[in-house]
Amino acid sequence: MPDESWPVVRTVGVDRILVSFGASLSERANRAALALRAAIETQAWPGVTETTTSLVSACVVFDPLELPHAKLEAQLWTLIGQRDWFSAVLPEGRRRWNVPTVYGTELAPQLDEAAQVAGLTRSEAVASLSEKPVRVQTIGFSPGMPYLGHLPEVWDIPRQQDLSPTVPAGALVVAVRQLVLFSVTTPTGWRHVGQTALQLFQPQADPPFVLRPGDEARFTPVDRDTFESLQADPMGGATYEVI
């Protein structure tokens, strides 16, 4: 259903403007954000230093001394009016990844807790997380790190009150109907349900970032021995096909 109240244009801090296509995650809002960001990039407006996307928003980083807020907002509204961004298609050249994943065990100690919060048994939880591919909705938080979704409704679980002090790179974590696969060791409020050996950020490689928005990924269950055998491979046994 078209919704006349979106997108909304808001500032973030002093030097960013955000165009958001929804208050909650939807596939159409995500596609709209990716398409608008691509369109802003092609405009090459003077004063714009960088663009990025979040789940449902395109973000413009700019120098407000060169490009006043009001002027950039006007330019954005003109661009927004040129088409129906909600009907945008996904980027070209998308890939579907298969990522070997250990669920639970001491490698991913919050599987049982997450399943309980979602109201599932452990095996139901693993099946629900691994049966279908999820899509990379955006890359962010840390280098190369994907937000993936949508998971089934039962996974609309909140983050933890307290941050887990640290989870390792390759950790698969869950909250709010999304998965995140960490590229670096980090504290997090999301629950750690799986562990992969995939290094999403390889600074010396070209390209240094493995995943792109629009890619799909299926986190296929493997046993501990298989996981250990994949540790030496920076790709952690992950493979892809172009879709």
Partner: protein
């Protein structure tokens, strides 16, 4: 070209520059020096580009020996500094003779001291920058025994001091409303603006936690908001209600709500607020924030105009080098 040998160094010291813009869409934040102003001050003191890398020293200095006469500048959190046993002025440039140990000791105020070398410290750039970014696995903390190369030094002046913006003991930090400020409601935002915060022990290049008496700044539904873009300066409130000011090395997106955003101009003050020092926040409008940013950028680009000679009449001094070193005793406390 030259080399610096690190004899002793505190934990967490690293090469820093102005960071790596351009990678936000891939999730890599700009990073760079915790106190960006200190990088510009060092560049002005040495008459060189602010794009060159400096040594960032969090909380503690070290002992450094150059294998050739080297111009250095000292900026950021003032430390006790001496070379060959003779005191040196902070916020000043000096010539350090080959082989003479440069000792940077206890911090007198602030958090991050900076040692700049003529030609800049060199390291293989990655993704367009030399700054260590620990959370991304880029670069490493420097250790005793490490040798750091310097680039070619294209200038020769030393013996200048700079009167810097005081920012080393907390104070008032200006903020703008941001996209989630309205979630909190006027009452909570007003209470936030009236609260005097104390800097917590938890503070690093990613974020600085602030404590306050009384209830925290939790917001209904705050643990289930959609992850959205983050900018350095965002004041994020995690589950226990305490605000964290997100700093240079912060994540690029995040799901905890943010109550306001610190102006880029005031982030050096946040970075340099020492443990236990007081901080309060003052809301300004977006227009005021842009005006402030304009003034600060102008001031930053004209820093060199504020250089003053460390010695009154260098032409009268036959042994310029030794006099420079001795004269440093008289200055250096102006920030505290």
């Amino acid at each position: 070209m030259g080399t610096m040998q690190i004899t002793r160094i505190g934990p967490g010291a690293s090469l820093q520059d102005l960071g790596r813009p351009g990678w936000l869409a891939q999730g890599l934040s700009r990073g760079g020096a915790a106190d960006r102003l200190a990088v510009y001050e060092g560049a002005a003191l040495l008459g060189q580009s602010a794009a060159l890398a400096a040594l960032e020293l969090p909380g503690a200095g070290g002992v450094f020996v150059f294998e050739q006469d080297t111009r250095v500048a000292l900026t950021g959190a003032p430390m006790d500094a001496s070379v060959g046993g003779r005191s040196m002025a902070w916020n000043a440039s000096h010539l350090v003779p080959s082989g003479a140990p440069l000792t940077l000791g206890a911090i007198r105020a602030g958090v991050y001291g900076y040692l700049h070398g003529g030609g800049g410290f060199d390291a293989p750039p990655s993704l367009g920058g030399r700054a260590a970014q620990f959370t991304a696995g880029l670069g490493t903390a420097l250790q005793a025994g490490d040798r750091v190369r310097l680039g070619a030094d294209g200038a020769a002046t030393t013996g200048y001091a700079l009167d810097v913006t005081p920012r080393f003991n907390g104070g008032t930090v200006r903020v703008v409303s941001s996209l989630q400020t309205s979630m909190y409601g006027a009452e909570t935002v007003n209470r936030f603006a009236k609260t005097i915060f104390t800097r917590d022990t938890r503070a690093n290049r990613m974020g600085v936690r602030l404590n306050s008496d009384g209830e925290g700044f939790l917001v209904e539904g705050g643990l289930s908001v959609l992850s959205e873009v983050i900018t350095p300066g965002d004041i994020q409130v995690t589950g226990d209600g305490a605000p964290y000011v997100l700093m240079s090395e912060c994540q690029t997106t995040g799901g905890y709500p943010r109550i306001a955003t610190v102006l880029p101009a005031d982030l050096p003050r946040v970075a340099q607020t020492p443990l236990g020092a007081k901080v309060c926040f003052e809301f300004v409008t977006l227009d005021e924030a842009v005006d402030i940013e304009r003034r600060v950028q102008t001031a930053r680009s004209t820093l060199a105009l504020g250089l003053t000679p460390l010695i009154r009449d260098p032409h009268d001094i036959s042994d310029l080098l030794s006099y420079q070193l001795i004269s440093g005793v008289v200055a250096g406390d102006e920030d505290t």
